[in-house]
């Protein structure tokens, strides 16, 4: 495969996995400076996708693939259009800076290599999610991001909180993934193809399909859990237990957007229905409001940012649900702006934590002189987040207001939700960027000073990109935004992007309102925090606690279930087994009506009868035996009777063997039992005896009837005839049974001998083990061994 052009995308997808393997070794050699080398991998990937941008912007889409599991129609195929290219750029671009940042943040951490490894595994999986064309491939990468997210959240695995959050994220996103798989399979059934590129070209097939409702719900479950939509939002703030590079990368810039990606991707074929334009805005709007309101309450920088991430994801889902072109353009712009400013702000929060020793906003202040670069990055990013010109965030906010207001039917509600969300988001952005740096200098646990270049390179670059994309809005629009809008909206979108609004409209008015009320909210943020805090305490229960209750309930229920099914009583298990056997014998006879025809007990000579009756008497004696000698002797009687029956029906070989074996059995039984004080007396209660008798009787009757059915069927004599015919001519033996044993079916006999040998060895081992235990070594010998 070539190393440049579209084909090289395969190498770009493979590269992170290779880096994941090499990272630990490299980190061992170069310590934290390995980050510089490792960051080259995502940087190169970024360059690769950048080289494709112009052709994608010109309206081209690329599909390429190779067969993976052809029998099931699983191909490893790639689909490149505006949507996937922009996502790939974000993943690789932000990824490069996160790798650098992780080099500084986890400097000297004994597991830094492992951390890099997980990070690259995630990067590869996330690229897979956005580039995959085949739905099954997409699903596999989707689950891989859940697993790598689990590993990264639980990176600090010695802390309980860390483990809990990791499990929570895995359970929530993993179960959503299961729903998604079902949804994908239904899409495949309804759409007739598992390739995204073909499904997208299918038009209204999915919308008109009877499976649409089911597909919609399943896809939404997958997307909502992944993108932390209400009521599944709780795992995302908890995921802040992960080291900050992870929060910046997975839990704000990339992975949590996978759900939004999926909704956007499927918008052309699933969107614009009554279900879509109702459900998505409702859940998105609720998530937006819940996110900002709970966010106001927090004092931890990372948690404030996490809740605004939840809110932003809600906003994106709401706009995707609005399903009109302008709203989607707003969503696309906001998605890009958010990835840049939120990634930057998270890294900024991590740097403060790293250098000052705390990230509690009430314990920070006056850091502007100590950390000027971080301060600059924070302000630039926060301005974009607050939606002020000339940042990308401003353009995004203008257009999303425009789109929200223009939505048919629910325009007012969506606009109101977006407005409230943005006002509080503005206040939070101001709080995050200003509180730690402005005001009086506050004593922090560590003596704060600017971090090393590894720590500030990322935040400042990402924040500045937000500014540059805003300033060069027309180029950003042509190369990145419009191709993605075309992909999401289905069709070609070519409207130019402006920084300065062309005319006064509702959106601008809303912007002004946002800024004015946002400043007000920022000034009153302490009061608001207290109010929200009191309200949330009053509610008490939340989905987070619900998750614990669910998990505990699961464990307790399964424990009860196991204790009911597996009582530890051998008799219960055996009864269950034998009842199952009886059912297997009787149910087919009942359902097919093939009962054996009873032909009576004729044609038996009196000596044949004699031995049959003798066997039965032996059985009766065994069952009723009061002492062991009676039991053993009676057992012998039955065995010998069976041996005689073999003789009577033309099987002297069997008879001989049976006599020998039966004799040996009796001897061994007698040997073992006389050494033990075992009573063969039946100790069961009367009830138990009746139950056991019925079970045993049914199984016996079942087998007898089965045998009767078998013998009344015509006999296929092919095999006996074959053996009879060739016994002497081929195998040169006159005893047919012997010839079969040692020649025709010689391997069976080898197996039989092996079984006997193994049984013998096992018996030997059982006896030996005891011998060792019974005679502990004299102390003198042990001393000798120790001395040696």
């Amino acid at each position: 495969m070539p190393f440049s052009g579209v084909e090289a995308t395969f190498w770009a997808m493979l590269a992170p996995f290779v880096a994941a393997v090499l990272a630990p070794m490299l980190t061992q050699k170069l310590k934290h400076n390995a980050a510089w080398v490792l960051a080259a991998v995502p940087a190169l990937i970024f360059v690769h996708f950048l080289s494709l941008v112009s052709s994608v912007a010109a309206g081209q889409t690329h599909t390429l693939g190779l067969e993976w599991v052809p029998t099931y129609g699983v191909t490893f195929s790639i689909y490149l259009d505006g949507l996937s290219t922009l996502f790939a750029l974000l993943i690789s671009g932000i990824g490069a800076f996160v790798v650098l940042y992780a080099g500084g943040y986890l400097k000297g951490h004994p597991q830094q290599g492992r951390f890099f490894s997980f990070l690259f595994l995630f990067m590869g999986s996330m690229l897979g999610v956005v580039l995959a064309d085949n739905l099954i491939t997409l699903f596999i990468f989707w689950e891989l991001t859940s697993i790598t997210s689990f590993l990264l959240i639980g990176f600090d695995n010695l802390r309980t909180a860390s483990r809990r959050s990791a499990v929570q994220a895995l359970v929530v996103t993993g179960s959503g993934g299961m729903a998604l798989l079902a949804g994908f399979l239904l899409i495949g059934m309804a759409g007739g193809s598992m390739e995204m590129s073909e499904i997208l070209a299918s038009g209204d097939v999915l919308r008109d399909s009877g499976l649409y409702g089911a597909i919609f719900i399943l896809v939404c479950l997958g997307a909502f859990t992944k993108s932390a939509q209400f009521p599944f939002h709780f795992w995302l703030p908890n995921a802040m237990e992960a080291p900050t590079p992870v929060s910046a990368y997975l839990h704000s810039a990339t992975m949590v957007k996978a759900g939004v990606y999926l909704l956007m991707r499927l918008n052309p074929v699933l969107g614009d229905t009554a279900l879509w334009t109702t459900v998505l805005p409702i859940f998105g709007g609720l998530t937006l409001l819940a996110g900002v309101i709970i966010g106001i309450r927090q004092t931890d920088l990372k948690l404030m940012l996490a809740y605004t991430t939840v809110a932003s994801l809600g906003l994106l889902v709401m706009l995707t649900g609005a399903s009109n072109t302008v709203a989607i353009k707003g969503a696309v712009l906001y998605l890009v702006a958010h990835s840049l400013f939120k990634g930057s702000l998270f890294m900024m929060a991590g740097t403060i934590d790293h250098e000052a020793g705390t990230r509690d906003i009430t314990k920070l202040g006056g850091l502007r002189n100590a950390m000027p670069i971080t301060f600059a990055a924070a302000v630039l990013a926060a301005l974009s987040m607050a939606g002020l010109p000339p940042f990308l965030g401003f353009i995004a906010k203008e257009i999303l207001y425009d789109g929200a207001y223009g939505t048919v039917g629910s325009g007012y509600l969506i606009s109101l939700a977006a407005l409230c969300g943005n006002i509080l988001m503005f206040a939070l952005a101001a709080a995050v960027a200003l509180k730690p740096f402005m005001g009086e200098k506050v004593e922090t646990p560590k003596h704060a000073h600017e971090g090393p270049i590894l720590l500030w390179a990322g935040p400042i670059t990402l924040a500045v990109s937000g500014l540059l994309l805003g300033l060069f809005a027309a180029h950003a629009g042509y190369f990145f935004i419009n191709p993605m809008v075309s992909a999401v909206d289905g069709g070609t979108y070519g409207k130019e992007l402006y920084l300065i609004p062309k005319h006064l409209n509702m959106a601008l008015l809303m912007s002004v309102l946002t800024i004015a009320l946002g400043i007000f909210a920022y000034l009153r943020i302490d009061t608001l925090r207290e109010l929200v805090g009191r309200a949330l305490t009053a509610i008490g229960w939340g989905p987070d606690r619900g998750f614990d209750q669910l998990m505990d309930g699961l464990v307790i229920t399964s424990d009860k279930f196991i204790r009911t099914v597996q009582t530890g009583s051998m008799v219960t298990y055996m009864r269950a087994c034998f009842i199952a056997v009886a059912l297997m014998l009787f149910v087919p006879m009942m359902t097919t009506g093939n009962w054996p025809t009873f032909e009576g007990f004729q044609n038996l000579t009196f000596y044949e009868w004699a031995f049959v009756i003798l066997a039965v008497i032996g059985l009766y004696a065994v069952i009723t035996a009061k002492n062991r000698v009676t039991g053993i002797v009676s057992l012998g009687i039955t065995g010998f009777s069976v041996a005689v029956i073999y003789t009577l029906f033309g099987a002297p070989d069997l008879s001989l063997t049976q006599f020998m074996v039966e004799t040996l059995s009796v001897v061994i039984l007698a040997l073992v039992m006389t050494r033990l004080d075992l009573k063969p007396k039946d100790v069961r209660s009367k009830e138990d005896r009746v139950i056991d008798g019925v079970i045993a009787g049914s199984v016996g009757l079942g087998f007898a009837m089965l045998l009767m059915s078998v013998v009344s069927l015509p006999f296929d004599a092919t095999l006996p005839e074959f053996f009879t015919q060739f016994s002497y001519s081929i195998a040169h033996g006159r005893n047919l049974v012997n010839v079969i044993l040692v020649d025709f079916r010689g391997f069976d006999t080898i197996g039989e001998i092996a079984v006997v040998m193994v049984a013998g060895l096992a018996v030997l081992a059982l006896i030996r083990v005891r011998a060792k235990k019974a005679q502990p070594k004299p102390e003198v010998e042990v001393m000798k061994e120790v001395a040696e």
Binding site: T160, V555, I556, S558, G568, S569, M570, M574, F601, L604, W609, V612, A615, V616, L619, V622, I623, G631, L635, G639, I645, F649, G650, A651, L654, V661, S665, V672, M673, L676, K679, D682, R684, D692, G693, I695, A696, G700, F703, A704, M705, L707, M708, V711, P720, T724, S727, R734, N735, L736, V737, I740, D748, T749, E752, V756, A759, A762, I767, V769
Partner: protein, 125 residues
């Protein structure tokens, strides 16, 4: 006559299961011994039984002179008898050792793998 033997197979089977379900180790072991006999007779009868001569080829002939008994089930059963015997021997020693180690011959009291008790399931992370 197959019906008589079939009934005998059923009786052997019932008796062996009845013994195996009783809680005492000795009776369980005797049940296993009878089970072997029962299954062997089942296979033997399934190949049809006749009172005809054993499956031998007399000297100077390439084929048996008359109709013989079916040799195939006999071969199978011969293998099965030996195997069931070795298993019985193993079970006997196993039971003997279990009695020595656990001090009981009641299968309900042999609970090393699934101990009694009200241990709470592990909650938390």
């Amino acid at each position: 006559m197959e019906f008589v033997i079939a009934s005998l197979v059923g009786l052997l089977m019932s008796a062996s299961i009845y013994l195996m379900l009783s809680k005492k180790l000795v009776r369980v072991l005797m049940g296993i011994a009878i089970l072997g006999n029962s299954v062997n007779l089942l296979i033997f009868t399934g190949g049809r039984i006749t009172r005809s001569v054993p499956p031998f080829i007399p000297e100077g002939s390439y084929l048996p002179l008359e109709q013989t008994a079916n040799p195939l089930p006999q071969a199978l059963v011969l293998t099965a008898i030996v195997i069931s015997f070795s298993f019985l021997a193993y079970f006997l020693v196993l039971g003997y050792r279990a009695y020595q180690e656990l001090g009981t011959d009641d299968v309900l009291e042999m609970r090393v793998a699934e101990p009694k008790g009200d241990e709470k399931p592990p909650l938390g992370y």
